[in-house]
């Protein structure tokens, strides 16, 4: 049982609301900035449990986020920006599932819904 902090990374207008939830916000304006903030936050010393990051700034640093997937902490979670979801998060899970199962099992389901 350990206590962890939470943080949100993204464009200021998207993540401002997280303040009301008691989550730290780290507004960034570019992907480069997002990458450096993320690098700082994933340090185990910082004790972040969950890091929310908006899809728009996460797009370019997806590899880095995927690499973090192997560790239990912190958990990096993609959230939609205020422009609405772009589906990167779904896409990411689809890829993970495809790699593990060896087949695309999600597409079929989503295809039927459309």
């Amino acid at each position: 049982m350990t206590s962890y902090r939470m943080a949100a990374i993204g464009e200021a207008d998207s993540i401002i609301g997280f303040l009301a939830l008691g989550v730290e916000i780290h507004p960034v304006t570019s992907t480069g900035e997002a990458a450096s903030v993320l690098n700082k936050l994933v340090d185990p010393e910082e004790k972040y449990g969950i890091i929310f990051i908006t899809e728009t700034v996460a797009e370019e640093i997806m590899d880095r986020i995927t690499a973090l997937g192997e560790r239990a902490f912190p958990t990096v979670l993609l959230i939609p920006s205020n422009q609405g979801g772009k589906g990167y998060a779904f896409e990411r899970i689809r890829k993970i599932v495809e790699r593990a199962v060896g087949a695309d099992i999600l597409m079929g389901k989503e295809g039927r819904q459309q």
Partner: protein, 207 residues
């Protein structure tokens, strides 16, 4: 295939023992893989459900904040939302499941008043947005947990499958091949010995 083994009975016994262990390990790992897969598919389904719910909720809440932003300045909003708010943390307990360490998140106690600002100076849009965001927070944290589990489990499935395949397609056939080689070599020696004995008997008989 590597056949560099001593064709002796000792070696044959040793190989057969190794083969038994390998077959048993293969069966166990295969069972583990099946179980992992079953859990995994359920989790993926749950992840999809939660993700849809969360994205919908967040998008709607964000729209509200955008409306508030249109009327209120950034610094004002920042103070209103964050000023008197204590940082809320999550407590995480690692749970061991199928040989993996999986985080289980529990949100810290919530403050009873979800609106951190005075109601007089802010708009109804903002209240609505804050309320929506609060409603989606729990599923959001749950989603974080589920998604992480899916990710960790995917890695474990991949590793387990690689092991199962290595046993099934490399180690077990190799051991079988070596055992067969030794059996045949021993039989051949036996035949050689028999012929030699017959020859000796013939020579002795003539003399």
């Amino acid at each position: 295939m590597n056949l560099q083994v001593n064709p002796t009975r000792m070696e044959l016994l040793r190989l057969k023992k190794r083969l038994r262990v390998a077959v048993r390990g293969h069966k166990l790992l295969k069972d583990k893989l099946d179980e992992l897969m079953k859990n995994f598919l359920e989790l993926v389904e749950e992840n999809r459900r939660l993700r849809t719910e969360v994205e919908e909720g967040l998008t709607r809440a964000f729209r509200g904040f955008a409306m508030a932003r249109a009327v209120l300045s950034w610094s004002y909003l920042e103070t209103a939302l964050g000023a008197h708010r204590e940082r809320r943390g999550v407590t995480a307990k690692p749970v061991r499941r199928m040989n993996m360490e999986i985080p289980h998140f529990l949100l810290d106690e919530e403050e009873p008043n979800i609106y951190p600002y005075g109601l007089a100076e802010t708009t109804g849009d903002l209240d609505e947005a804050v309320r929506r965001l609060h409603a989606v927070f729990k599923p959001l944290v749950q989603l974080a947990e589920v998604e992480k589990t899916v990710e960790l489990m995917a890695g474990e499935i991949e590793r387990t499958r690689r092991r199962v395949n290595a046993l099934e397609h490399v180690l077990i056939p190799q051991l079988e091949e070596q055992a067969r080689y030794i059996t045949m070599k021993l039989e051949e020696n036996e035949r050689g010995n028999l012929v030699r004995l017959m020859k000796v008997k013939e020579i002795v008989g003539h003399g």
